[in-house]
Amino acid sequence: MHEWTGRLAGDFVTTDEELARDFDARLVESARLAFRVAFSVLRHREDAEDVAQEAFAKAHRQFRQLRDPERFRSWLVRMVWRMALDRRRGERRRSTREAEHERVRQVSTSDAVEAGERAAMLWDAIDALPEKLRCVVVLASIEGHDLAAVARLLGIPQGTVKSRLFVARQRIKDRLQWLNPTQSIAR
């Protein structure tokens, strides 16, 4: 009886330790992804870190169902995206794109000012996209994700990703053209 209880307690501790180890591995490989997805929505480092941290806390609570790495990343991306959008909606009144303004303010040379303005316009063009297209563009630009990876992360067919990406790029180019007709798109 004593042996059996000891073994049961041992199994419990081992499972707990294994879970903790697995979670840490997922954290290390997905931290940058979560942060960048949040940053793409919030454009603010501290806010993006807060949202990513909250998403990891939620993931930790449900980790028994999210042990598969692919499933974990997919769940995390969707969760971070949703949480970041919620946060942005809540804080829209507070500030308007602090990071990009700061970036523009910090630059001193005319080239840098131009780069900052260009970045601001690009963000503006990305923001103007419908959510479905924006998500695809952002994920395709993070960590060199290919079409298949983006499709897996979003749980949609690869063909859908390809067509959305095409439409999104086109709209971004059109928007940039409209914002600054004198500037070429590819520099």
Binding site: D16, A20, F23, D24, L27, V28, A31, R32, F35, R36, F39, S40, R45, A48, E49, A52, Q53, F56, A57, H60, R61, R118, A119, L122, W123, I126, V137, V138, A140, S141, I142, G144, H145, D146, L147, V150, L165, R169, I172, K173, I185, A186, R187
Partner: protein, 108 residues
Amino acid sequence: MVEPDPIDREIDALLDVEPSPAFLARVRADMTAQRIEAHAWLGRWTAASAAVLVVLLAIWRGAQVAPLAVPQSTTPAIAALEPSEPIVIEPIMIAPLATADVELGEHQ
């Protein structure tokens, strides 16, 4: 990689941001705190369950012991009511009717 497009390079550059070095440490600390809290909850639940179990066991034991105590206390009372020696019922003697006739005849 997704097919290269000039606009992609610019978007890549926009999203080429890194979390602060303290980010991972902060998330790990958060997870540790969550684990400790979960263990504390588990401990509290175990203690509460054990307490409930002890109370239920006590109630059950009480129910088991109570019926045994009744016969022990009532047995002497019942024993006192019962006679210590067996009752012997003696036969009732009835006088025969013929004897009475003889007595009447003698008077005549």
